[in-house]
Structures are given as C-alpha cells and as structure tokens.
C-alpha cells in the first residue's frame, strides 16, 4: 500500500536513532556516517533489521548528510543507503508489505542568505539532486528532518517535490522555547508546510518526549495532516565516560502514550533512542484508537517567525509599499533604492500593521528583479508576513518561491486568464489568496453579482485542491462620490459572501473616499461600518490616525480588546507623543544656529524640522553649503580628534540625512551633480557593518553611493562600474581569508577600467596589505574614506 494511503488508515512507527548505534559499532568521531553504507553495509543492514524486529514500519536510510556539498560520489552513497535498508526488509521475517524505506534528508549545515551565504535557489538545487537520486534508488518516501530553519525547510520541500514524485514527510527541530533556531513557532511552520503540500509533518530531535508534548498539542490544534513525533531520549549525559540519555525506554514509551492521545500519529525516536524504545512505544500505543487529524479551518499567513490568523479579529495590511500616486516611491524604484522600501516597511510595522502589501510595479523597471530584492530584503529585517502584489505571473512565481513562509497573494479574480495563471501558483507554493470579484464583464453592480463571482473563484480553486480557508474575498470598495450606493453594495457583498460561502473578506478601504475632501474621515467611518459587517482584513495606510482610531475603538467596542488594554495603550501613546514634541520645540528655540546644533547632536526629527524652517528664507544650496556640510565637518573633526565616537558620528550623519531630505523635496533641476561611488564587501565575506558605515557617511556628504551589498563577486563590481560610470570603488573585507578576493577584484578593475581608483578598508587591512594588493588608498576608518573622496573629487 502506498504510504500516503497507509497513514490515513493506521498508526505507523519510525525507527529510532542511528548515530548512537553506529558509534557503539566502532564509528570514529569525525568520520562521515554515510560512508559506512559502502564500507560496512552489514552493520547498517543489521541495525535496520533490528528496528524492523522491534516493530518499526518506516526505516530511515543512513543518508542524513547525503548531499552534493559533502559527497562527490553522491549517487553511490544514496543507492547504498537505500539498498542497505531494502536488504533488511528482505531479511525481515514479518509483514514486508507495510514496511517503507525513507530517504533521510537533513540540513545542509550552511546558513541561507541573508544570515549566511548560501543562495536559496542553490539550496533547492542541492536538495533536488539528492531527491532525484533517492527516487531512482527506490526509496518509498523522503523524510526531511531536523530542520531548524523555515527557509531551508522550504528549499528542501521544493527540491524534493520538483525532482521526484515521492511522498514528502517533514519534521522540524524546536528548542526549549518551542521555536526553531531561526525563530519560527510551530504555527508558522505548519502554515508554510501545509501550504507547500507536504504529506505529513511533525517534530524530531533537540527535545525529549516530555518537552515535546506542548509542541505536539499545538500541532494537533492547527495541523490537518498526520503528525510525526520522533523525540530524543531526553538529554545526553556522561556516565563513566560513556554517553547516555536521561530518559529510558520505559519512561520514553509512557510519555509517547500521552503524545499518541494528544494527536501524535506516526511515532518513533531520534538521538539516543534504540530498539527497546521503539518496541515499548509500539507495545503501549498500538491499541490506542488511531485518528488522522481533522481539517482545521484556520486561515493563516506566516513569516519566518510567526503566523497571523485571519478571522479572529480584523487584521491590518499596510498598503504603503506601492508606487501608485507616490512620486518619491517611484523615484526610489527607478534608483533601485531598496533602503527606501525597507524604511516604508519598518515604519508601517511600528504603526501596527500585521501584514505588508508589496507592490513594486513600474513600467520602466524590471519588476521581477525589483520584487525579488524587495521581498528578500524586507523579510531579512521584518518579521511581518508579506502580501505579494503583482499582476505579472513571472514576478508572482519568483516572489512566491523566495518568500520565507506562507505569503498572501494579491490577487486572483474571476476572469479565466487570472484563474488559470494564479491558481496553479497558489497550489504549488501555498498562500492566502486575495480574490477580487471582477469577472470578464467587470465589477458587478449588485452584491448578488459579486457573490456569484466569489463563488466561481472558490469552486475553481477547489478543483486545484485549494481550500476555501485560503481564500479571502475582496468585493471591492468603489468611490462613493461617483455612485451613492457603492458603499452599501460593498458592505452587503461582505455580508452575503461571508454567510453563504464561509470565506474571509478583505477590502482596499480608502478607495471609497476617492474624489471627496477629508478622505481620512470618510475612510475611517467606512472602516468601522465594514468591521461591523464582518470585514476580516483592511488594506490601508497605518499612518492614517483617524483610521487607526477607528480600528482600535472598534476592537474595544466589539469586545475583542480585553479590558480595553490595547486601546488604552494606543491612546496613551498618542498623548505622550505630543508632549515630547512640544518639549523638544522649546529646547530648539533656545538654540541659535539650530540646524548645525541638531546635526551635531544627532537629532534626526529636529534636523528635518530645522531644515524646513531654514528653507523658508534660505536657498536649498545655501542650506547645504552653509549649514549641513559645516555641521558634518565639525562632527568629522571631533571624531578625528577622538572627542566624538563612531556612534555619534553616525547619529549626526543620519540627522544630516533627514535635513537633506527636507532640502531635496524643494530642489529639482538645480540639484548639484553628485559623484558616484560603488561600494561592496568582497566575495566570501558576509560582514558588512563597516561598509554600511562608510555608505551612510558618503551619502551624507552628498555622494551617490551604489551599494552592492556583501559577498559580492568581482564581476559584479566591474559591471556596476561600467553601468554607472563611477570613478571610485570602495571595497571592504574583514578577514585574511577574503583579502584575496579583494586583490582579485582590484586586479580586474585595473585591467578593465584602469581609470577607477580603489579605496579599501576592513579589520585585517593595513597600509602594507593595501599596497601589496594594489589598492590606491587605504582608509583606516569611514571618515578617512570621506576625506579621500573629498580630496579626490575636488581635483
């Protein structure tokens, strides 16, 4: 029987640990256990056979680390690993029919970008390769296990599913706090894995059975798939020089009984568990009635840390990462200014958004490329789920791939073309779909018409195997200024769609006030009406105070905010903000040359305000030359004299930056031409704090900095120089191992673009080193780089 069917009918048992047994049979520390598949196949087969005799149904092949990073003879290793397990089945005298061989796929041992240097797609390729061989070798399923990072887990699942048709089981390793090493809680993991369409999921390693109980509880509450539980035999300890685990087989199996009752479906063990553990677990749990988890109706979107549930109380989706009607945002997209987008994301999070919509579509840019960098950069610094918002299928697919979690997808509509393109993507990658009630004929004028389209989408999604819990219908808010009934129809649609279809709903709220004065007030009143009707998600601007007030008051008035605590918190935040502002203003007035003062003191908001005040009487260029630059110079000098320190230097630079923002908003054609400087941390190096400091300072001295990031190949540096015509390149390296890459980059630049000057810095560099590798300038700190640029470009 196919294991997919078997797990629906009866309780299956995994085997226990392999490592401990291998060490007992003489595996030396530091040896790769997978090599034993070739050198001592009889030992491996013997272990498998003993597990079968103990009652295991699923043998985990000895292939935990079998990937192309570790083995050149990968095919040979995987075939041997699977064959050793199959051999044991041949020798087994019990029921051979209900025994399966799992190809074991563990983590690669390398961290993915942005925390590490492994590219997501490269990780997918490595897993793909192993999975492909596993299927050829005759394994019955792929077990992805001991995963402690959601991103790598996703890469492994995609790799396994894209290159094989084998069932995919996934178990993750949680720490004592019930989180994966990179931060995810169980609900986030479940949301992502069920979205990706795995066949069974669960937990293994790190914890003993006692500590796993609470995690299994969460799985039973949220997972609709069979739950696998493979704990360690407690914690390792040393007795007379030998490693033993502190939970014995008797105790282990007793806790496994509780776990089975709690919802554990497929049971087994991990580190430290041996034959007895499996035998006793099976004996004690065999007769507990077996039930597969029921369907769980939670609508979940997730980030790399947590899931956001839609349906319990309204959630806010921040709409500001979108160029529509925003000249500054458009300019940022054209200049490839990712930092601007990140700042929009961070500020919306601070204002209370639960999910962020990401739309970077602009006709004149490469939307796919921009979307990929926006998604990867945003998810590296923010822990909110993202809503991928694009009309291009290619952009959508690429973004869904690299997204670390279960995203929201904006959007699908009832037109044939949209259904055909978007639904397969949602099925493959998982996601919560925003479904717009737009048909071939446009937007129906009646609630009934909109309901019909929603129904069509839900039915079509079902054909693709997409549950309606993953569909959030947006019945569209249209300008009430052009149609008196538009608000009423939208609200009626929400009601109808929720009642009859049982799906969640969403609205881009602010469309309602289009064409009217005092839009915020109209929006906020409409928002309250919509919430009262049952709206689940509001796509809106979290910076709109009236709308945020509506949201918080609605929560407390509808009994969703216990003791009105969140409301009180929100409201008191409003008053303190004003108090602080007025105090600062008083202080400001006392300062005569206030802009210089606020920059020197590193006061960001004040610098912006002071610059604005100055601009009322001074020309933009004069504000720069007579105030901002002298202030920065003052700080720079104090830094060089060690009267001020690096953090203060940066505070002032940031303050100057916000003053520049004020100036820039007034400057157009007469903007001074800035010189361009390309900067990068070289290939192999992932430390970029020094480079970032240099960037901030250079920018605030007026340079246009093209920041290529960290771990940058020399070719990319050359390409950037050619593309931008920059005359100066700054390179950073932290370690001796990467200075070589710096030398190669300089060599390439000198050969291809000899007019470019290079300035280098970083922890291990010295003047001597810099001379040796042919750099034009060694800068001991960020300030020296600025001084060098100033003198070089003055020539």
């Amino acid at each position: 029987m196919d294991i997919r069917q078997a797990i629906k009918e009866k309780r299956l048992y995994f085997d226990g640990g392999m490592g401990t047994l291998l060490q007992k049979s003489g595996l030396k520390v530091g040896e790769l256990p997978e090599n034993l598949n070739l050198t001592s196949p009889e030992i491996i087969t013997d272990i498998h056979l003993k597990y079968l005799n103990a009652g295991a149904n699923i043998l985990t092949a000895n292939s935990f680390g079998a990937n192309s990073f570790k083995f050149d003879n990968l095919e040979e290793i995987i075939f041997a690993a699977v064959n050793n397990a199959k051999k044991a089945i041949e020798l087994f005298e019990g029921d051979k029919e209900s025994v399966y061989v799992a190809f074991d796929m563990g983590p690669l041992g390398k961290m993915l970008k942005p925390l590490g240097e492994l590219d997501f797609e490269d990780a997918v390729k490595v897993f793909s390769k192993s999975a492909q061989i596993a299927e050829k070798s005759g394994a019955d399923l792929i077990l992805i296990e001991t995963m402690n990072d959601t991103y790598e887990t996703k890469a492994a699942v995609l790799g396994a599913k894209e290159s094989s048709n084998l069932p995919v089981f996934v178990t993750n390793a949680y720490d004592e706090n019930g989180r994966l090493m990179t931060g995810a809680d169980p609900v986030a993991v479940i949301a992502m894995l069920e979205g990706l369409g795995v066949d069974a999921l669960g937990v293994n390693c790190s914890l003993g059975p006692h500590k796993m109980k609470d995690i299994v509880k969460v799985y039973s509450e949220y997972a609709s798939l069979p739950i696998i539980v493979n704990p360690n035999a407690g914690m390792p300890k040393s007795v007379n020089g030998e490693t033993v685990f502190d939970v014995d087989a008797e105790e282990f199996s007793s806790v496994m009984v509780e776990i089975a009752k709690e919802g554990g479906c497929i049971l087994g063990g991990c580190c430290g568990t041996t034959y007895d553990y499996i035998r006793k677990t099976k004996e004690k749990t065999e007769n507990i009635p077996y039930t597969v988890p029921t369907f769980k109706n939670h609508t979940l979107t997730s980030s790399y840390t947590h899931a956001v549930e839609i349906g319990n109380e309204p959630i806010l989706i921040g709409e500001r990462i979108n160029p529509t009607g925003k000249p500054k945002f458009k300019a940022a997209l054209r200049e490839n200014n990712i930092d601007y987008i990140i700042a929009e994301g961070v500020s919306q999070e601070e204002k209370g958004a639960h999910v962020l919509d990401v739309n970077v579509g602009l006709p004149e840019i490469d939307e796919t490329k921009m979307m990929l960098s926006a998604v990867t950069e945003l998810q590296s610094v923010l822990d909110l789920p993202l809503q991928i918002d694009t009309v291009k299928a290619e952009t959508m697919e690429k973004a869904l791939r690299v997204y670390n979690g279960k995203p929201m997808i904006n959007s699908v509509n009832a037109k044939e073309e949209s259904l055909k393109t978007v639904l397969p993507l949602a099925k493959k990658y998982g996601g919560v779909l925003i479904a717009l009630t737009i048909g071939e004929e446009g937007i129906p004028e009646t609630a009934e018409g909109r309901y019909k389209l929603a129904e069509k989408i839900v039915n079509r999604a079902k054909e693709y195997g997409i549950s309606k819990k993953d569909i959030v219908v947006d019945p569209l808010a249209m300008a009430v200024s052009s149609d008196d009934k538009s608000a009423i129809v939208t609200l009626e649609s929400i009601k109808l769609i929720k009642e009859r279809l049982g799906v969640k709903t969403s609205l881009g709220v602010s469309n309602i006030s289009f064409g009217l004065p005092g839009r915020d007030d109209v929006n906020s009143a409409f928002l309250t009406m919509a919430f009262t009707t049952g709206l689940d998600c509001a796509i809106m601007n979290p910076f709109s105070l009236p709308m945020m007030k509506s949201y918080h008051t609605y929560l407390s008035l509808s009994g969703k905010d216990k003791g009105c605590l969140r409301y009180i918190d929100f409201a008191s935040g409003l008053t303190t903000e004003t108090v602080v502002k007025s105090e600062n203003k008083k202080e400001e007035k006392e300062q005569k040359s206030s802009l210089v003062y606020s920059i020197v003191k590193g006061l960001k908001n004040e610098s912006f305000e002071n610059a604005k005040t100055l601009l009322e009487k001074e020309k933009p260029l004069d504000v720069i030359n007579n105030f901002i630059v002298p202030a920065l110079d003052k700080v720079g000098l104090a830094f060089e004299k060690k009267e001020m320190f690096l953090p203060q230097l940066l505070m002032s630079a940031e303050a100057a930056g916000s003053a520049f923002d004020a100036v820039k908003s007034l400057m157009k054609a007469d903007a001074p031409k800035k010189d361009k400087i390309v900067i990068a941390t070289v290939k192999g190096d992932i430390h970029d704090i020094g480079k970032n400091i240099v960037k901030v300072l250079l920018q605030n001295y007026g340079y246009e900095v093209i920041d290529l990031g960290k771990d940058v190949p020399k070719e990319k540096v050359l390409e950037a120089v050619k593309e931008t015509g920059a005359k100066m390149v700054g390179l950073s390296a932290l370690m001796t191992t990467t200075v070589e890459a710096m030398e190669e980059t300089i060599r390439l630049l000198k050969k291809e673009e000899p007019q470019v000057v290079t300035v280098v810095g970083g922890a291990v560099l010295t003047q001597e080193y810099a001379d040796m590798i042919g750099a034009d300038k060694y800068a001991k700190d960020a300030m020296e780089t600025v001084r060098y640029a100033e003198s070089y470009f003055a020539k």
Binding site: K110, L115, N148, M181, V381, F645, L646, G684, I686
Partner: protein, 202 residues
Amino acid sequence: MTTSLKLLTASAEEITVNKKEAFRYMGATGKSFPDKMQEAYSLCLEEFYKNVSYKACYRKTEVSFKGDGILDLGFGEFKSLSLQKNLEGCKEAYIFVATCGMQLDRLIIRLSKVTPWRSVVTDAIGSSAIECFCDFLNEILAKDKELKPRFSCGYGDFDIKNQKNILDFLDAYRKVGISLSESYMMTPKKTVTAVVGIKRTV
C-alpha cells in the same frame, strides 16, 4: 577519551556585558565618555537583552603531542606551534563553541538598514557580550580544574580553517545552530570556538 557533548544556556541577565570593552569596539577609548554615548549604550543594551540567546556546547577530549607542533586532539590532528605552546603540560582539554544566537544577527541587520548608529552600538555590545559569555562558561569549566587561557582558531599559527573540524566535533549545527561559510566565517556572527587546556584537576 572524549566525553559526551554538554549544552549550556544562560539568560540575558546572567551575563554582565563589559561596557568598557563594548566602548572599545566602538573605537571609544579613554577615561570619560560623553553622555550621548552613555545614553546610546543603555538604549541599545535594552534591545540587545531582548534578542540575545546565549548557548554553548562543549566536550572534553584527550591531548597528545606528536612533536613539531602536531597535536592529536582526539578528533583529528592539528598543526600549530602556538597551540602546542598553549597546551604545554595538558593531557586533556575542553573544546567549546559559544554563541549569542541568530536573533541578534537579525537585529543588527535590521538596525543597519533603519538606524545605522544603533547597529554599530549593538554590534559592539554583541562582541563584548560573547567574550563575557565565554568567561562565564570558563568559570563553570574551571570549577574543579585549573585551566589554560582559551585559545581560538586564528590565534598565532592556529589556522582559521580548523574551525570546521571543531564545529563538526561539537555537532555545532545541530546542537546550537552554528554554520560555517566557505571562507570560514561562522553564523551567527557573534560566535566563538576555543580550545581550553586542562592543567590539572583540583
């Protein structure tokens, strides 16, 4: 013979971060610092506390000297005159890895995009904190033993490439989530591995 792996964690409050060292990492040396720096430090320390997760994993091993700077540490041979000198007279040593955790890396990345000055201060706090956590671990190991000063890859002629062997020996990826890049850099960034010679048991 080698003994089993032991894990150790500490809460943020258990480790007192050495402020002077943190200031030194920010390039601030001297006797007094401006109030602005003190404020910045306190502000960032508070956020650091919420994001640090100290974890360590260690194991005892035998040391044998093969001459010419070649040492057998029970899980492989190492060539380093400096390490040989450091371990002089030791028959055993502890091997450990200690980290401030992944969430701190995230925080520093985030700050570098939003408020760069805070990323610099937080980075410096992390650099100081990991050393303090190593001291904390050292103290525990030194309970009934006299220990040599800890010795890390990259000191003297003890090649940074040995990092791989040490992390494998400690099963560091599975136990505490440490991974190594091709250029031998560890993630999370605030992570230290070391060899600590055992002079004698007291």
